[in-house]
């Protein structure tokens, strides 16, 4: 079908293609369209040369521009690290108290420490650091091992009763179930509860005080104010790690729970531990 055929109605040549008497007009495409089309082809070819594109046996062509999305991520991460470098360097060179006293550094450390807290600490201490039974509330002003920024840093670094760390904070309350008679346990529990609130049976308090002096004062102190060197809690305040009230106290006297916190220095490194210490210290209870 090579002969030129002109459509009678429109006066346009046909392509010579015919289906059931329907012929295709050979209207040329607009020039701008054709040019754009060729440009896109040229663009596509150039693109496959410039960027990774053609699949080969084991990988793909790398492209002459050397683009790689992994490198992009790497560069972005490096840029983020570089942007933080000034603060990180300052945090590394200063003590946590100094960091907490510096407005800019504290703001940075609280943000960074808050992020690290949400990943590593919330599992036990809760998302608001409010703790729960057996896991201390970090917002309040009662500290088993000390609430100064350095002391918090020490606790996070080496953990509590964490066997794998030789420098861990170590202490253990013995079980008194076999040492004391049940009535003595009831007496001492009533005495301890009476230090911070009313108790039902006032008659238990006096004998309880004697049991306390004989058995408990060594660690918790004669006035039951606790001893931070041993992590022995203050029994006169309103804060109870393992629950308040005579029953909870009695249970803790019979068979004490001794909580464990891992040492974080190996996993998080010193900078993050410092940031965490500043963050915890900023929650409102820091000393």
């Amino acid at each position: 079908m090579s002969s030129e055929h002109v459509d009678e109605i429109s006066g346009v040549t046909t392509t010579g293609h015919e289906w059931d008497g329907i012929k295709e007009l050979n209207n040329p495409l607009p020039r701008w369209w054709v040019i754009t089309f060729y440009i896109t082809i040229a663009w596509a070819l150039a693109y496959t040369i410039a960027y990774p594109a053609w699949p080969m046996l084991s990988s793909a062509t790398r492209g002459v521009l050397g683009f790689s999305s992994r490198n992009d991520v790497k560069n972005e991460m490096a840029a983020a690290e570089a942007a933080k470098a000034k603060y990180v360097a300052a945090i590394q060179s200063k003590t946590v108290s100094e960091i907490a006293a510096d407005d800019t550094l504290r703001e940075f450390a609280v943000a960074a420490g808050g992020a690290a807290f949400k990943v590593n600490c919330v599992q036990c201490h809760g998302s608001g650091a409010q703790g729960s039974i057996g896991f201390p509330n970090l917002n309040d002003d009662d500290w088993l091992w000390g609430g100064k920024a350095e002391q918090v840093q020490q606790t996070i670094t080496h953990g509590i009763r964490f066997a794998a760390d030789p420098d861990t904070r170590q202490s253990e309350m013995p079980a008194f179930a076999d040492v004391l008679k049940p009535e003595q346990i009831a007496q001492v529990s009533a005495f301890v509860a009476s230090l911070s609130g009313p108790v039902q049976d006032q008659s238990l308090i006096e004998p309880g005080a004697k049991v306390f002096a004989d058995n408990c004062a060594a660690c918790h102190g004669e006035n039951a104010k606790g001893n931070r060197d041993l992590g022995a809690p203050n029994l006169t305040d309103a804060i109870w790690l393992h629950g308040s009230g005579e029953a909870a106290i009695a249970s803790q006297v019979r068979a004490p729970k001794n909580g464990v916190m891992p040492a974080w220095i190996g996993r998080l490194g010193e900078t993050t531990v410092k940031e965490l210490a500043v963050y915890v210290h900023s929650l409102g209870g820091g000393e």
Binding site: A101, D103, R106, G126, S127, G128, A129, Q130, N137, N139, D140, D141, D142, S196, N234, D237, A238, I239, S282, G284, G285
Partner: protein
């Protein structure tokens, strides 16, 4: 069974039947507007000078705001989220002032359109102004209408190439200056100019210049009247805005028709002859390339250059000006009725003239009173009301603000002495470019005391906090209340801030949470 001739034939035709089908695409017919001169042309030069002057010069105006704020009179500081307009500084949350101005601009456009028609299109629209500017360049290089048409039709030669290259080069320079002026609204103009010239400005600055250079060149130089005809919505909206008392550029065919090139011959032959001599001067000067004698049409931007062209012809012929004039539809219709004897016959110009040739007394003429009608009063009222509300709100707005966010996790903390502590994030907004010392005080909440994180001071009911100029100061405040003072699980109290120097103040009612009592 019916015979086929008995089947009724319906009178129907496809809307796009082959006989009457029109292509949807219309190739552009080139427009070569002739230079006009006259009152409206002069007014347009004046408007052009003012609008271009405002656009190019505004960023270079200075305004002293002290040492804590930029000294550029008009500045949109996106990086710091501030908008400066002479003595006004706007924070992002005060953007409603801009919204109010946009509403005023909208209603103002309605007001203008309902009175003097599409004056915006004809005189002040950037498209009109820049096309006018580009035409000045075109005329200076290629000559007026006839020379340009000749050049366009001529084959390519060294001269044509030179003229075309020079024209487009100057257009591009103007376009670049237009795009370049835009960016100075967003940063300190003198500093940014230095950066742009030395190549150290931000990439977005160059991108903005490039995009606006492109749009100015394409819209103002290449597309011109097509932007108004095809792209702009306003020609469509105007139909709803105009009424029979709005001024529009009108061809007064009640005195112009029947038009004739050979008036003397025709009138000698006893035919009635109008004032229009069919010289086409009105068509030649039209930047939209239309014929106003076809009546109102959406392509007409009412630039009034045809009035100038026609008036100068009428002057030469010794006839009254105003064959083409600003007239309202109501006046036009009244005069038209007079010229056609109430619509009973063809236009007869003799009906609107006395024996001596002057116009009869009963002709309708525009007078200023027609601007004041209910519709324009309403527009004016709405426009002024929005303006007054904005001004009032601007004069009475707070420049010291307080925002408080109550900690929700944990809602409260029990301290070792049994007292309860709540945490708050408190934001102090110092919205003036001066440093201030703000006193934060606790009101209510018996026995309550607060402490500020990072502030090495004992707990108290009041603190003095220095706040940087034009900045927000965020404080973490802990409020604590002794156990025996707590009355309810949720108590209300106020944070109050005062600037002692200016005695400006703000209050925020916050709540204090405590555990539900078990008993």
């Amino acid at each position: 069974m019916l015979d086929q001739s008995q089947v009724e034939r319906l009178e129907a035709e496809a809307v796009n039947s082959a006989k009457t089908r029109q292509p949807l695409y219309a190739a552009r017919k080139k427009v070569f507007p002739k230079r006009a001169s006259g009152r409206f042309r002069q007014f347009k030069w004046l408007v052009m000078a003012i609008t271009l002057g405002i656009y190019y010069l505004t960023p270079w105006l200075r305004w002293d705001r002290g040492s804590f704020a930029p000294d550029q009179a008009v500045l949109i500081d996106l990086a710091n989220r501030r908008f400066y307009f002479f003595f006004i500084e706007i924070w992002p949350q005060e953007f409603y002032y801009v919204a109010g101005l946009l509403m005023m601009a909208g209603v103002g456009l309605f007001l203008i359109t309902s009175t003097v028609g599409r004056a915006w299109c004809g005189y002040t629209c950037p498209q009109t102004v820049w096309v006018d500017l580009f035409l000045v360049v075109e005329r200076a290089i290629e000559g007026d209408r006839n020379a340009r048409m000749k050049l366009d039709a001529a084959p390519w030669s060294a001269r044509k190439l030179f003229l075309r290259v020079s024209k487009h080069a100057i257009w591009l320079i103007i376009a670049m200056a237009t795009g370049g002026a835009w960016i100075f609204y967003f940063a300190d103009a003198p500093k940014l100019l230095g950066q742009v010239v030395t190549g150290t400005a931000a990439p977005i600055a160059y991108l903005t210049i490039a995009v606006l250079t492109g749009t100015t060149y394409v819209f103002g130089g290449l597309m011109r009247e097509q932007v108004c005809t095809y792209m702009c919505p306003w020609p469509r909206i105007q139909a709803a805005m105009l009424d029979e008392n709005s001024l529009t550029v009108t061809y007064n065919d009640w005195r112009g028709e029947p038009r004739s090139r050979h008036a003397k011959k025709a009138s000698a032959a006893g035919q009635s002859v109008g004032d229009c001599v069919d010289c086409n001067a009105c068509v030649a000067v039209c930047p939209m390339g239309i014929d106003i004698r076809d009546g109102q049409q959406l392509e007409c931007i009412t630039c009034a250059l045809c009035i100038d062209a026609c008036d100068s012809v009428m002057d030469k012929l010794g006839r009254e000006r105003g064959l083409i004039s600003y007239a309202t539809l109501a006046d036009y219709n009244a005069n038209m009725a007079m010229a056609t004897a109430g619509g009973t016959g063809p236009i007869n110009p003799a009906l609107v003239r006395t024996q001596s040739g002057s116009f009869v007394d009963g002709l309708a003429h525009f007078h200023l009173g027609k601007i004041f009608r209910l519709r324009t009063y309403i527009y004016l009222g709405v426009w002024s009301a929005i303006g007054l509300v904005l001004v009032y709100s601007l004069l009475t707005r707070e420049r010291l603000e307080l925002n408080v966010l109550h900690d929700r996790n944990p809602q409260f903390v029990t301290l070792s002495d049994g007292s309860i502590r709540n945490g708050y994030t408190v934001k102090l907004l110092n919205m003036i470019p001066e440093p201030r010392t703000i006193e934060v005080t606790l009101q209510g909440l018996d026995g309550g005391e607060m402490s500020v994180v990072g502030l090495d001071q004992p707990a108290s009911r009041s603190f003095s906090i220095p706040v940087e100029p034009d900045r927000l100061k965020m404080l973490k405040i802990f409020v604590r209340q002794p156990a025996d003072q707590i009355k309810e699980p949720v108590q209300s109290f106020e944070f109050r801030i005062v600037d002692k120097a200016s005695s400006e103040s703000a209050e925020y009612t916050a709540s204090f949470n405590a555990p539900e009592k078990e008993r």
